[in-house]
């Protein structure tokens, strides 16, 4: 039985590690894997709290829980359920959730880290900012999402996971990946991975913010990241070399160093 977290009347699977100030991780295409090497490093700087969104991992999703609106209010409730002030770190799709939550200015939030987030539309109507998660071939996703797909940590899956399925994988792991993918489509098929209104409200984010980007990310490029960062008042931007869409998985040490330094700074 996985560890659980209650937010209002919603029951979530949660991964916890370390102790101290809460660091809330808001996951992307898959829940934060307990096997991700960055976890123990980051747990030296606070208590990691990493829930699975409804429909992902072992978190049930109610029929009517099916929009970004629901996720934003859920994560506001999660913030309320945690002790003291909270640092929130959002990855990819979870970065979009974290940005939306931060725009709503919850009192419990005191630091925001966005890691290769999606969520806004920047380019023209015939330019695609974000490679289509669902309509792109597994091999292309795997190539575009990683600086070096061969260095992916074992049994940890990001975008392009379909290209990494092999017959040795357990049924349980396959079922989890399928459930996660289905849930992601419920929330984010259309508009694909962004809220057309979000860009104009990023100026409402009032907590210290750090935007981290894998320099080799070709799902959403570092240029998109710089522009995203520039829309958040006072945000700092940092690119991480030799990392793609999941710098926390490809460069865990550099990633944790940057986050830890940011969390250690006074506001």
């Amino acid at each position: 039985m996985s560890d659980r977290l209650r937010a209002g009347d919603i029951d979530l699977e949660v991964l916890r590690r370390g102790g101290g100030r809460p660091i809330l991780l808001v996951h992307g295409v898959n829940p934060v894997s307990p096997k991700a090497p960055f976890l123990d490093l980051l747990a030296e700087h606070g208590e990691i709290v990493a829930p699975s969104h409804p429909g992902f991992g072992n978190s049930p999703r109610a029929d009517d829980f099916d929009t970004m609106y629901d996720l934003v209010h859920l994560y506001r409730e999660v913030l309320d359920a945690l002790p003291g002030q909270v640092a929130m770190v959002g990855f990819s799709f979870g970065g979009w959730i974290a940005a939306e939550v931060a725009v709503s200015a919850p009192a419990k939030l005191d630091r925001l880290v966005l890691v290769d987030p999606v969520g806004i539309k920047l380019g023209g109507r015939e330019e695609r900012d974000i490679v289509h998660f669902f309509n792109t071939s597994p091999s292309d996703l795997n190539r575009l999402a990683w600086h070096d797909p061969t260095k992916r940590p074992a049994e940890v899956y990001g975008l392009g996971w379909q290209a990494n399925i092999d017959d040795r994988m357990s049924d349980e792991a396959m079922i989890a990946l399928a459930s996660n993918w289905d849930a992601l489509a419920v929330y984010a098929w259309r508009p694909h991975m962004y809220n057309p209104q979000l860009k104009q409200w990023l100026r409402r984010i009032s907590v210290p913010s750090l935007v981290l980007w894998g320099a080799s990310d070709r799902i959403v490029t570092a240029d998109y990241g710089r522009a995203y960062s520039a829309l958040i008042p006072g945000a700092r931007f940092a690119a991480i070399d030799e990392a793609g869409h999941h710098p926390e998985l490809e460069q865990p040490r550099v990633f944790v160093e940057l986050v830890a330094r940011f969390l250690g700074q006074s506001a």
Binding site: F134, P138, I165, D167, L184, A185, V186, W189, R190
Partner: protein
Amino acid sequence: MELWNHCENPYPFVPAEVLDEASSVRASLPNKYCDPKIAARLYDEIFDEYRLCDDIGLHIVTNEHHSGINNLWAASPVITGIVARLTRNVRILSLGTLVTVRPDPVRIAEEYATIDVLSKGRLEIGFVKSGATEMVSGDANPMRIREREWEAIDLIEKALTTHDGPFSWEGKFFTHPHVNIWPRPYQQPRPEFWAATSDLPTCAELGRRNIVNTLLFGGYDRTRQAFDAYKAARRAAAQPAPGEDRFSYMAFAYVGDTDEEALRIGQKIAWFLTVSIKSAPQFARFQPGAVAPEMAPAAWRAGVSRRPRPTNLDAAVLVGQGQMFAGNPDTVARQIKEFRKRVGGIHHIIMMTRQGLVTHAEAEKSFNLTAKEVLPQLQDLPPIDEDETAWQARREAAAK
């Protein structure tokens, strides 16, 4: 029994090397490979075939698929409207427009009501759940499409049958505050509804709603199970047993002068299975909702082992599986009667004949033989003896 002609208007003219190279022959194959002059000829030929069907008593089915070599009917209501005006006698089934892709079921109801009026009550309305590449071509969320389909059906039915509107609809997937279609349908209370599915819970719901259940190429056993689920649901709801006219089956079909000729031409139909369904993994087994998560290991492991695609489907094998009716007129009549018996009764057979590489002349020859020499053999058939079919099913089960 009644026989229907269904042609998908395939486009088998893209060079093989292009198709071999493409990851998918639907959704992503550029339309530079579709020559509009060839397309225009195909439309002419197939509308001529429909006129022939009208003269000889074969009903007509249209459908739609998008962005691919398998089907040039981009909008079933458009095509059905043309067929309605080209024909005078036969019934016309739209099977169907993609209600899970289109944003407003009220427009669909309006289009169908219009066709029903201009055909003077010859329209039947079919529903399909759709999925796969259609979700990509139509940018429709592939999750929860069955729920969306049922809500669309409910709204279309209410739009067709409400005559003192406007009424308001605020559903889960569709909202419309002011529904009031003109014209209203010619048939009262509404045209017959059909749905294509072999999903047993859905078949049961069709049973409770008295909607015609058609299967597509399901073969004997799957079709029998589906119809049994339909009947059981009606029994459980204390509703009268359904007539055979509630059941339909679509199969490949070719009627020739001889069995040999029919199998030879029928073999050209297999293009549908060997070429026209090639689809990239992101549009198929990895599309959200394509397989229930608990079924993913089976679906994906089969994919991992790279099972080769079927390239040599023998017409005789398809006949043996009940997926094709092919032979001389007597042979085909016998095959259909046997099928009817083995599935526990059926009234409608939808024959997919102009498929794959089958030519216009070949299709018309089959239609003429079908109407003149097969259809008469399928009239006034004795009722299905349920005891006999049950006994036969038991015997087959014992043999396995």
